[in-house]
Symmetry: C2
Subunit: 165 residues, 2 copies
Amino acid sequence: MPDTAIPAACAFADHDHAACSAAGLAQAEALCAAQGARLTPVRRRTLEILLEAHRALGAYEVLERLRSDGFGGQPPVAYRALEFLEAMGLVHRIRRLNAFAACMRPGEAHQALFLICRRCEALAEAPGGRVRAAVEAAAAETGFAVERASLEATGLCPACRAEAP
Amino acid sequence: MPDTAIPAACAFADHDHAACSAAGLAQAEALCAAQGARLTPVRRRTLEILLEAHRALGAYEVLERLRSDGFGGQPPVAYRALEFLEAMGLVHRIRRLNAFAACMRPGEAHQALFLICRRCEALAEAPGGRVRAAVEAAAAETGFAVERASLEATGLCPACRAEAP
DNA sequence: TCTTGACACGTTACAGGATAACATCCTAGA
DNA sequence: TCTAGGATGTTATCCTGTAACGTGTCAAGA
């Protein structure tokens, strides 16, 4: 059981974990109710796990926690819940890390831009509206219609820039 | 051996495969020579495979072809060659597809933006300079220094937009 | 009340993607 | 010629993801 420990923090700035975790759950409930979607126990717990971890987790890390909470312990259980949450805009998938992270702005339709520190593995979600617009502009020139975009950058976070030259 | 057939074409517009394939190899040789890197037989053949396929291939698809050409048939062989080629800017990795594709503009330092059709699975590489600039601008606001960015969009290519409503 | 259909959950089994670690070999430069 | 570094090859294993099937649950309509 190697703790594949993906990233560390979830934003570069400090903030109140407990608060944003609770808020995330509340918003999730509201959002699902509004859309007639069912935030079932597994789904709810999956979201909680990501909110509590407050960093990106691999599907198998999520799965392990679900299992120890008495839910089904096979991969499809985790993948299905994560897929649902992603479709609801409550969770993001970070392909570069093969991992998932709770969304920081559920509800607000937005394009996320992920900033991944290669040194401390911190992960931040930045507003990607303008980037998205640029993507659509570039795509339009070839006649391509963008539906979804994954925007992920690796580099150095503020702290690591200061420490490592 | 399910042919996992990832995408189809490599650009939305028609063009001369043989020519761009030959050009790609020539440029690769020049580029490696200039940087004192060794374009060994496996590496060269790996690039050829991607240029000939003219679409994104999974590492195991590449591996299979290398094997049938008499090269080592174990995963690290393919991964190492692909890694080298990516570092040289001759090959791109498309994370959304878990696949690799030959670069369309080797030599020219550039930021690629991938457009992936969800219907016909065609893949195009669009110029991502402006998108990259937008990413850096957004990152700068949090103090993050971007080193690499992977920009991938899914949607509908021109042909599929016309066919499917 | 009973039926039925959609959806969620769970499991098995496997396919596909990636890497660590070690042995061997080749090759450019001292 | 010798040698150090890089390149190749192999073994073994791990991580990631999905197809397919069976069961349970709940709500709408007969």
